[in-house]
């Protein structure tokens, strides 16, 4: 199961490095019902799961630093590994109602979650609720492999 990336990510990668512009301040991982596409630009274009019981609008923050990500360099293979992400359901399941999460998306930052840029997404398999007291964990998942 491979993660997918948006066109926007590629554009931002270039702009950040070469032009010194549009650098993200941080990242978020949100849970959505349906898959984005390569043309998806903002989280508002997707159907986010219902908030509550530990899930906040826009998802879980991920810092733009060596804590949030690790980047490994090898011949022909650059691996970007995301640090632990936890979605813990408390007081009830996540989501409290509605459709279960089928995808996790990595977004940029922004005060309004709906306006956050979507950079990548990956499938969670069969849409599954997080039971109360349980935690969905992305533990050092390899989010991207940048390959040449």
């Amino acid at each position: 199961m491979s993660a997918q990336t948006t066109k926007l990510l590629k554009r931002r990668l270039q702009e950040c490095f070469f032009r010194n512009s549009n650098s993200p301040s941080s990242f978020f991982v949100a849970l959505v019902v349906s898959a984005p596409t390569a043309d998806t630009q903002t989280l508002g274009e997707l159907t986010q799961i219902t908030t509550g019981n530990g899930y906040s609008d826009g998802g879980v923050a991920l810092t733009r630093d060596a804590v949030g990500f690790s980047v490994a360099e090898a011949t022909g293979l650059i691996t970007v590994t995301i640090s632990n992400i936890l979605f813990t359901a408390s007081g009830g399941p996540i989501p409290p109602s509605g459709s279960n999460p089928g995808f996790a998306v990595v977004t940029g930052a922004g005060a309004t979650p709906a306006n956050r840029e979507v950079y990548a997404w990956f499938s969670l398999g069969t849409p599954t609720a997080i039971p109360s007291g349980q935690t969905l964990t992305a533990s050092n998942s390899r989010l991207f492999l940048i390959d040449g």
Binding site: L13, C16, E73, G76, V80, L86, T128, G133
Partner: protein
């Protein structure tokens, strides 16, 4: 200086040293440059008549005669010779005559020149010593003899020292090798190998040489240590000790190292490193096997630690601080120890003010212990210090315990200072208990005050088995799987991952109030990030038992699949609430079968690795006890989403393990954009594009995701084709830059990191998902004379980062300029409008 033969009188040392090979560089022999003693020739004469000649570094002259003269000739590897000063001997009655030669200096000034080196040496003198310098290598070859030193109360067999009393800069490398048979050195109460002080300890290798001390069962303690490494200067280096296939027993300790940290102050610059033990047997000691203050890079492999004749309570390994240590495939046997005392491993820096215990990146894998009362202990005993363990992996160990605990943290009660537990993994271990009670497999003692900064932060407990054969005692429960003490706030919420552990009590006749207690102490459900499929079982007909004692874990029990307790009370009858999975006829099918049944709430039980492991050994009946014989359950402990609906509402959500691939590809097929390389006197199209290097991709990802290594600007460099750039090129130094001058600057011409210089952006230029960024025109004009000033012309342009040192600049991308270019005066090398394209990974 001439080598000297020293006559040893009144010696009880009955054998001589088999041989030495000295790098005697401190020697200034009268005849040539004697460098390394290759061999020696002994001449024994009486009244001017040679009666015996012996060739070799060893000479045992047992049938000597009074008045004999001994002449000794040393020969080095280069053929240089050196005569020793002859000696006339007097044979004492009742003793053999021995010869001890200091081949380098001729005289050590110590007891060897006046008496037996193996009898009268004192604390500052050694029986054998090489007057070598730091960096020298000394090899001592032992034959298959037993060397008995009968009455030393101090001193040592070997002391790698420059002089008897001085010397501050050790660093001699010493190798002891057993060259034939079994070399045994019996030291009684003396030291085996020691250095007492100095900035740097010497390296020491013992390959197959046995050390025997005087300590015996029930006897008085001894003070001698087999190997004592005591460099005490901050910043000192050592010990660099390797022990291979040797036996050491009967000492105060096998190994002690009072490191530069002896004063309990870590010295980062000190390298008191490297202790490697493989295939050794370490026997009875009157204190410890290994005891050190601070070390790095220690490894124990396939060694046996026995205390079968001892009656002490010392640990096999006791240290204050350690970075990086592996203890693998070792055996700890205390079955004949009257008290079964002493830890297998104990981190304990003492309770003194300022002392602190510290362990980082330690691995204990595949070890076996017998007859133990204490397992692995991380004390955290400092009264005023913060202690910590981090990155500790305890995996696959099997300990047979008489009592005590398998592993403990913070064994000493503290108010505000205890053991910080971070990234500790205790998995797939087995603890078998007998005889006593009221102990636990895992013990954690946090500070009693919630202001403590020392906390349990991340602890994984999985797949462990605790099997208790005979619980008894006056305690309210017999044995506890996890005991957590101290203030509840010192356990970080979500810090404990506990899954698929198994505890079984084989007690059938009664005794304690409770046969088993899963947990005791202060934990709450919030402390667990994941906890499921932990099970208890008992062979007893109707013992009482408890999931928890003194803690409220109702939520933990009901929410995480630890649902063996189906009653409303925490105290229940085991036959009603628990199922003995080892009983004959047990059938794991919830609603069918003929054996003892389990309810729906026990479904999670069948996902327990522990159950799967134990069921067959304890009840190997074919068929009904086969785990995979229950098709309604998915035998996959990873809990895939497909289990939804099978085991109820407590299905753990699968870990997000998805991975994605993103290709940054600069040369996708079909690239047709107008890319040009300007050459001398006008541009010429070549249709090539910039190729990002691996380093370039790495830097892009690193800046975007980690906000690291942001370049202030770029450089455009020109290189020859002497070394062709490729995706694996890393630094400018990897390539051959053209000669600088006339308008080209060494390290490349600066290119600002601005929108203007990377001026365009397009989607779908190559594929629907590709994006391309273009460079602005880059002109390098030859002024004064040609570019390059001399040498080969430019074949490639390279985009570089802004490292200060030009040679260290990262090569981010490169562009083939075709045949080598030279720009004559006034003309330009023009590189323009070439894009860097990103495309999707399509493999």
């Amino acid at each position: 200086m001439t080598a000297t033969i020293t006559s040893i009188a009144n010696a009880t040392w009955t054998k001589n040293v088999r041989g030495y090979c000295f790098h005697g560089r401190t020697s200034t022999p009268a005849s040539g440059s004697l460098w390394q003693v290759q061999t020696a020739v002994w001449f024994v004469s009486l009244a001017g008549v040679v009666t015996k000649r012996h060739v070799g570094l060893e000479f045992v002259h047992a049938s000597r005669v009074d008045g004999e003269r001994i002449d000794f000739l040393l020969v080095d590897a280069a053929g240089n010779i050196e005569w020793a000063t002859p000696v006339t001997t007097t044979v004492p009655t009742g003793y053999d005559l021995e010869y001890w030669v200091n081949a380098t200096s001729g005289s050590d000034g110590g007891p060897g020149s006046s008496g037996s080196p193996f009898q009268t040496f004192t604390a500052v003198n050694a029986a054998i010593r090489a007057n070598a310098s730091p960096g020298d290598e000394v090899r001592v070859h032992w034959s298959g003899e037993t060397h008995t030193i009968t009455s030393p109360t101090g001193g040592q067999v070997w002391r790698p020292y420059t002089t008897a009393t001085g010397g501050t800069d050790l660093g001699i490398r010493v190798t002891w090798t057993n060259i034939s048979g079994t070399a045994v050195i019996s030291v009684n109460n003396g030291y085996g190998v020691v250095n007492m002080s100095g900035a740097h300890a010497s390296g020491f290798v013992n390959d197959g040489v046995t050390f025997l001390g005087a300590y015996t069962t029930g006897g008085a303690s001894v003070t001698g240590e087999a190997i004592s490494w005591q460099a005490q200067t901050a910043g000192g280096e050592g010990p660099n000790v390797t022990l291979l296939d040797c036996e050491i027993t009967g000492f105060h300790a096998v190994f002690t190292a009072a490191s530069p940290l002896i004063a309990h102050s870590y010295v980062a610059s000190g390298e008191f490193d490297w202790l490697i033990c493989e295939g050794c047997t370490f026997g009875s000691t009157s204190a410890y096997h290994f005891n050190w203050d601070d070390g790095r890079y220690y490894g124990f492999y396939n060694c046996t630690f026995e205390d079968s004749k001892g009656d002490n309570t010392g640990s096999s390994m006791r240290f204050a601080r350690q970075h990086y240590m592996s203890v693998t495939n070792c055996t700890f046997d205390r079955t004949a120890n009257p008290s079964y005392g002493g830890n297998v491993i104990r981190i304990n820096g003492g309770e003194a003010t300022g002392a602190w215990d510290y362990g980082q990146y330690l691995s204990f894998n595949g070890n076996i212990g017998y007859g133990l009362s204490e397992g692995i202990e991380f004390d955290g005993a400092g009264a005023t210090s913060d202690n910590s363990v981090r990155g500790v992996w305890i995996e696959g160990n099997i300990f047979s315990m008489i009592n005590g605990y398998f592993v403990s943290f913070g064994g000493f009660a503290g108010t505000t200072h205890q053991m910080d537990v971070v990234e500790v993994r205790i998995t797939n271990n087995a603890e078998f208990l007998s005889n006593t009670s009221a102990n636990c497999m895992i013990l954690i003692s946090c500070a009693s005050d919630n202001t403590s900064v020392n906390k349990v932060r991340s602890l994984m407990i999985g797949g462990n088995t605790m099997y208790q054969s005979i619980p008894q005692g006056a305690y309210s429960f017999s044995h506890i799987f996890l005991q957590a003490q101290g203030h509840v706030d010192n356990y970080v919420d979500g810090s404990i991952w506990m899954r698929s552990n198994y505890a079984h009590c084989a007690w059938t006749t009664g005794g304690g109030q409770y046969a088993l207690c899963w947990m005791y102490g202060v934990l709450t459900a919030a402390k667990f990030v994941a906890s499921e499929r932990n099970i208890m079982s008992s062979a007893a007909a109707s013992p009482t038992w408890r999931w928890t004692e003194l803690i409220d874990l109702a939520a933990w029990r009901t929410a995480s699949g630890n649902t063996l307790d189906m009653s409303s009370s925490q105290t229940g009858n085991i036959t009603a609430d628990m199922v003995d999975v080892t009983a004959a006829g047990f059938d794991p099918t919830p609603s069918a079968g003929t054996g003892p049944q389990v309810g729906a709430g026990l479904a999670g039980l069948f996902y327990s690795d522990a159950v799967r492991m134990l069921r067959d050994p304890f009840a190997p009946t074919a068929g009904s006890h086969e785990y995979d014989a229950t098709p309604s359950f998915v035998p996959d402990p990873t809990f895939a989403g497909s289990e939804t609906g099978t085991i109820g509402a407590t299905i753990p959500v699968p870990t997000m393990s998805a991975s994605g691939l993103l290709l940054i590809n600069t040369s996708a097929s079909g690239a047709t954009s107008a890319n040009s390389v300007g050459r001398v006197q006008g541009p010429t199209s070549f249709g090539t594009k910039w190729t990002l290097t691996d380093r370039g991709k790495y830097r892009l990802a690193r800046l975007f995701f980690q906000n690291l290594d942001e370049p202030a600007n770029f450089y455009i460099g020109l290189v020859t084709n002497a070394v062709i750039p490729s995706a694996s090129t890393i630094k400018l130094a990897d390539l051959t830059e053209i000669a600088a001058g006339n308008g080209y600057t060494a390290g490349g011409n600066s290119l600002a990191r601005t929108l203007a210089n990377f001026d365009d952006y397009a989607e779908s230029i190559i594929s629907p998902k590709a994006t391309t960024i273009f460079f602005s025109d880059i002109l390098i004009t030859a002024t004064g004379e040609s570019i390059p000033v001399s040498g080969s012309g430019a074949s490639y342009a390279v985009l570089l980062d802004d490292a200060v040192t030009e040679a260290d600049r990262d090569v981010l991308a490169y562009l083939d300029l075709g045949s080598p270019i030279t720009a004559t005066i006034g003309n330009q090398i023009k590189v323009f409008n070439d894009g860097v394209t990103f495309d999707d990974y399509t493999a």
